[in-house]
């Protein structure tokens, strides 16, 4: 028995020493954080990069765009991430926070587009929606006949909104508020539909004029006002949050042909035998429609690199080169196999030049 206690003591001591000695060692792999939407693309690039060069494969964490920015901008030390992925552009507030914490030079790379699909089961009816109808179906409060008036969402069936739509209950399965997909859905689909009401759009215009004239508090107040109208999703059971697992939504749509689901295009692409995408504003969701911008609910994807880490952590330059190679993000590249919608030829060329030249981002 005695020996056991002795050896335990030795083990504790040695593990304590190990932990101290290890925190000093420099990092020899690239540390990537950020959006769960970019994750499936960044991971493929990382894997190819690792296999091609025979070096260490970058570590990629899926923290969400906001969480990634927070980690990325926390400081400039070697223990902070080198790259963060984002399914939206960096916000000015985040950029300022980065600057404040010593992350001066940030390289911005736009990698392509992602479409958000509104889909239902193959057994269900075909949906032909406008963004305005989507807004009316899902907003917490909808405009009344009179401008400036809001009432609690009265619609329970699709046919209540437009008689041409199916006579079924409004039931939409989608991601929770923590998700970037939800942000983009609110921003592009709901806000798009919301702004078809002139008086709501006017609030945004007023906000912009207020900003220009220097009245910041009024500007942000008005901004908040229209965002509350446009981005608030009803909580009476018509919109069901399914967690950040798009496979689960697809599975639930298969089981419930009456429901609609909101998820990334790559999941629609992979499950085209189970679910079908709705037509939005007269455009059917497919690869081409997202690429040429005619499908309205699509967003650009980015990643951001700390310039100061280039050279300190091995492989960052090569990783950027791999990501921006035609092999990866080109029209025939392996990222398009995974559902990324590529940029146009010109945009790719320009982006690749600025990224590989390590040109830092400038925001006012």
């Amino acid at each position: 028995m005695k020996n056991i206690y002795k050896s335990t003591a030795v083990i504790i001591a040695s593990s304590a020493i190990m932990s101290i000695s290890n925190s000093v060692v420099a990092r020899d792999y690239i540390d990537v954080v950020g959006s769960s939407t970019v994750y499936p693309f960044a991971t493929v690039v990382a894997e190819t990069f690792g296999k091609k060069t025979g070096g260490k494969t970058p570590k990629i964490e899926s923290t969400g765009s906001g969480g990634g920015m927070k980690l990325f901008c926390a400081g400039n030390g070697i223990s902070t991430p080198d790259i963060t992925n984002a399914s939206r552009r960096i916000k000015l507030s985040e950029y300022n926070k980065c600057q404040k914490n010593g992350v001066k030079d940030i390289i911005e790379v736009m990698i392509g587009f992602d479409g958000i699909a509104i889909a239902n089961s193959k057994q269900g009816p075909a949906f032909n929606l406008t963004r305005r109808e989507l807004f009316l179906a899902l907003a917490k409060q909808v405009p009344n006949d009179q401008a400036g008036e809001l009432i609690d969402n009265p619609y329970t069936k699709w046919s209540d909104i437009n008689p041409a739509l199916p006579n079924t209950k409004i039931e939409v399965l989608g991601p929770p508020p923590t998700s970037g997909t939800r942000d983009a859905f609110a921003e592009l689909a709901l806000q798009g539909g919301c702004f078809t009401y002139d008086w709501i759009k006017q609030i945004k215009k007023d906000s912009k004029t207020a900003k220009k004239s220097g009245d910041k508090s009024l500007a942000s107040q008005l901004k908040k006002k229209y965002k509350t109208i446009c981005h608030s999703i009803r909580e009476d059971g018509s919109y069901v949050e399914v967690g950040e697992n798009d496979n689960l939504i697809v599975e639930k749509l298969r089981a419930n042909p009456k429901a609609l689901g909101v998820f990334g295009f790559s999941f629609l692409d992979q499950n085209s035998d189970v679910v079908k995408g709705a037509v939005i504003d007269g455009v059917k969701i497919d690869f081409e429609a997202i690429a040429d911008g005619s499908y309205p609910i699509s967003r650009p994807l980015y990643f951001y690199v700390k310039k100061s880490h280039v050279g300190k952590v091995p492989g960052i330059k090569e990783f950027i080169a791999e990501f921006t190679s035609e092999d990866a993000w080109g029209e025939d590249g392996y990222l398009t196999d995974k559902g990324l919608i590529p940029l146009s030829d010109d945009a790719r060329q320009k982006m690749s030049d600025s990224a590989n030249g390590l040109a830092p981002l400038k925001m006012q």
């Binding site: 083990i11 899926s62 992979q270």
Partner: protein, 427 residues
């Protein structure tokens, strides 16, 4: 009077028996329901997961042409590593299917084999440089869509637009099948490969090693700390002391705290304050130590309490000191119970994901960790990540990984039972 009582009892007897029978029935039906749930879960997982233990391989006549590889007669190791293997694979496929035209079809043709074919060929050529400028018949991993088709996951009768494999691709697959160039084999790579974003290449080795390292750290820390705490509190701490009571209440409370809270604590203290790197088994082990400590302390204390006082009293009466009594008699007698508790605590830690989310272990890591400071992931996290992947072929791998994790848990719990049975003492 006496007779009357007996009669009353007799009258009630039938009722009492019926009551007993009913209670038994409730018990049995409760067990039956839980077994039914368990079985449906296990069957569901097995049915989805079992196909993952097989993998489709594809045979290709590879013409390893030095011109295609862009190798001169003299080449360095570096040049051999960087040679154009993807072109060789492409050309070999083209030679097997002449008459494939158009960009889309050519691209689809390349997608019959896994992307790993290029690297497999590279390693093969590096190991046997003599094969350059010869023709070799090699087996490669098939692409996930082909694999899903071979396992019956793609329905031919569906309209073409709804299928991942189009009509012309099915013609190729049929041709390969008729030439015996497609084969399902036991999926060794599932156990020997690391994570990958290509389902056919993805394996659980990295996650298993990561789990092992994390558990090692957890055990090395939580066992000594937990057991010493339990021994002190049970054997040495003053009774009826306010501080001791406070500590006890806190330990019992901690056992019921949601595990994600330990993740937040780890993030703030170990990563924020001590600068332990993210995503490594060391930090995972530290956080899981915090989580398992209450379990170990509580079970160890129960085991120590179960040692009859007579043992202590006998030792003390014979002149042993309190330390001698505890370590020579009480702790050895309680060891089976302590070990059982530790194993159960470890099994709990093995299946945990929530706290690891906070400390960056939910990440894509394609390299097998070499030590406790290399980034790594663990089995339950691997399951979580795969379940969230769009590729259809990951569903079966998710279930297969669940089966492996369940296997580990069963082994650990079985071990706990054996230990208890073997070393248990009857007083």
């Amino acid at each position: 009077m006496n007779k009357n009582t007996t009669e009353i009892i007799k009258l009630k007897l039938a009722k009492r028996y019926a009551k007993e029978k009913r209670f038994k029935l409730y018990g049995i039906s409760a067990i039956a329901v839980s077994i039914a749930f368990l079985l449906s879960l296990l069957i569901n997982i097995s049915v989805t997961g079992l196909p993952a233990f097989q993998q489709t391989y594809i045979n290709i006549e590879v013409d390893i042409d030095s011109k295609l590889l862009k190798l001169d007669s003299q080449y360095s190791e570096q040049e051999l590593f960087r040679a154009n293997y993807s072109k060789v694979v492409k050309q070999s496929l083209k030679a097997m299917f002449p008459g494939v035209k158009g960009r889309k079809q050519k691209r689809a043709l390349r997608q019959l084999v896994s992307k790993s074919a290029i690297y497999q060929l590279r390693d093969f050529v590096i190991d046997n440089p003599s094969v350059i400028d010869t023709k070799q018949s090699l087996w490669f991993l098939a692409r996930d869509d082909v694999d899903v088709f071979m396992k019956g996951g793609i329905d031919r009768s569906l309209p073409e637009s709804d299928r991942r494999l189009k009509d012309f691709q099915l013609v190729w697959v049929d041709k390969l099948l008729s030439e015996n160039r497609l084969e399902k084999r036991f999926n060794v790579s599932f156990f020997t490969e690391d994570d990958s974003r290509e389902p056919e290449q993805a394996g659980i080795k990295g996650a298993m090693i990561g789990s092992l390292l994390t558990m090692l750290v957890t055990m090395l820390l939580s066992f000594p700390i937990g057991v010493s705490t339990a021994i002190y509190l049970e054997e040495f701490a003053p009774k009826n002391n306010k501080w001791v009571d406070l500590i006890e209440i806190n330990i019992n409370n901690l056992a019921a705290v949601p595990s994600i809270v330990f993740g937040l604590l780890g993030l703030a203290v170990f990563i924020g304050l001590f600068g332990v790197p993210r995503s490594v088994p060391l930090i995972g082990g530290l956080v899981l130590t915090l989580m398992t400590l209450p379990t170990i302390i509580i079970t160890s204390r129960a085991a120590l309490k179960a040692v009859p006082p007579s043992i202590r009293e006998a030792a003390l009466a014979l002149g042993a000191s309190r330390v001698q009594t505890t370590f020579h008699h009480v702790v050895p007698a309680a060891m089976p119970g302590i070990l059982t508790g530790t194993i159960i605590g470890m099994a709990q830690a093995l299946g945990e994901t929530a706290p690891l989310l906070m400390i960056g272990m939910v990440a894509f890591i394609a390299d097998v960790p070499q030590g406790i400071t290399d980034p790594s992931t663990v089995l339950p996290v691997q399951i979580y990540l795969w379940s969230d992947s769009p590729e259809r072929a990951f569903t079966e791998r998710t279930s297969a990984a669940i089966m492996v994790l369940l296997g580990f848990l069963i082994v650990m719990n079985f071990l706990a039972v054996i230990m208890r049975k073997k070393f248990e003492k009857k007083w």
